[in-house]
């Protein structure tokens, strides 16, 4: 479905999503017209889902980042759906993943400080339905975060 030209455009675009069209076309070695056409096709085909601003939560005063790994009561057939629906209502939850493995689910939670985190944990996280076990991993540093794909 994608040819080498598409992949070359994507590699450069992924590396620097703020690039303007003509710079991107230059780097990928194609004309601006080709670049536009290819990007439009990849957007229409759903390969490119979006180009999104990334928020630095620390700049907004959120100093604490915690990964909460939860196990759910699997005897409840609707445990995943109900847990996820309730977790979506917590504004400080910024990512939700479900897994196949020892951990069922992960919530990525941000908080202003430890006191704020304690508050969120007690009032919003622990009341979430169907939790059988939960453990917290405190985020210390991000070593690599480009999330680039080896296209």
């Amino acid at each position: 479905m994608l040819d080498d030209t598409d992949r070359r455009i994507l590699r450069h675009y992924q590396h620097d999503p703020a690039l303007g069209l003509s710079d991107l076309a230059d780097l990928a070695g194609v004309t601006a017209n080709t670049c536009t056409r290819r990007l439009e096709r990849m957007q229409a085909g759903g390969v490119i889902l979006g180009n999104r601003a990334v928020i630095d939560w620390r700049a907004l005063g959120y100093e604490v980042e915690v990964s909460l790994r939860a196990q759910l009561d699997k005897t409840q057939p609707r445990a995943f759906d109900e847990f996820t629906a309730a977790a979506r209502e917590v504004p400080e939850v910024i990512e939700i993943q479900t897994f196949l493995g020892r951990v069922d689910l992960r919530l990525y939670v941000i908080a202003r400080d430890m006191a704020h985190y304690q508050h969120i944990y007690r009032t919003a996280i622990l009341p979430l339905p169907h939790i059988t076990d939960i453990e917290a991993l405190m985020h210390m540093a991000r070593i690599k975060a480009d999330e680039g794909l080896p296209i």
Binding site: Q14, A18, I48, N51, V54, L60, H139
Partner: protein, 151 residues
């Protein structure tokens, strides 16, 4: 820490959806003039609230059918082995992100692979051979969503 008003928050929410919108298009949506919108967007960048852009790609359409979160414990601790480990792990193309964490594991890695057998190859040849690597726990991502966060 930067204080945002309701207009800033709306702009931020818009740019998280689509960072390529022009100031005039964005202003029209929010009922603001182009220069006023531009100034606010500029401020979000200058103050570091927006730290960059991320191209959101469909992993499966690009042939990466498997995403795995790996919890890695180091067998030998000490400043030197941390640096060695971080450098080596960040250089692996299939490793999308590396986070230093505090908890049952020392690092959390996010790894993409074409399929499970490709993941096994990355795990055995690349991850398990890293300097100082100890226990590894793998959780295969079944679903994932990013939430807008407290803005």
């Amino acid at each position: 820490m930067i204080e945002l008003d309701e207009t800033d928050r709306r702009i931020l929410r818009e740019l998280v959806q689509d960072a390529t919108q022009s100031a005039s298009a964005l202003g029209r949506k929010l009922g603001l003039s182009q220069p006023a919108t531009w100034r606010r967007v500029r401020r979000l960048h200058d103050t570091g609230v927006i730290k960059g852009q991320r191209l959101d790609l469909d992993r499966e359409l690009l042939g990466f059918g498997v995403s795995v979160f790996l919890g890695v414990k180091l067998a030998t601790k000490g400043r030197v082995s941390l640096d060695d480990f971080e450098r080596a792990v960040s250089a692996i193309p299939e490793v999308q992100s590396v986070e230093h964490i505090l908890g049952v594991y020392d690092y959390r890695l996010r790894v993409v692979a074409r399929d499970i057998s490709d993941f096994e190859r990355v795990l055995r040849r690349r991850i398990m051979t890293l300097p100082g690597v100890g226990d590894v726990e793998a959780n295969v991502v079944l679903s994932e969503e990013r939430r807008p966060g407290p803005i």
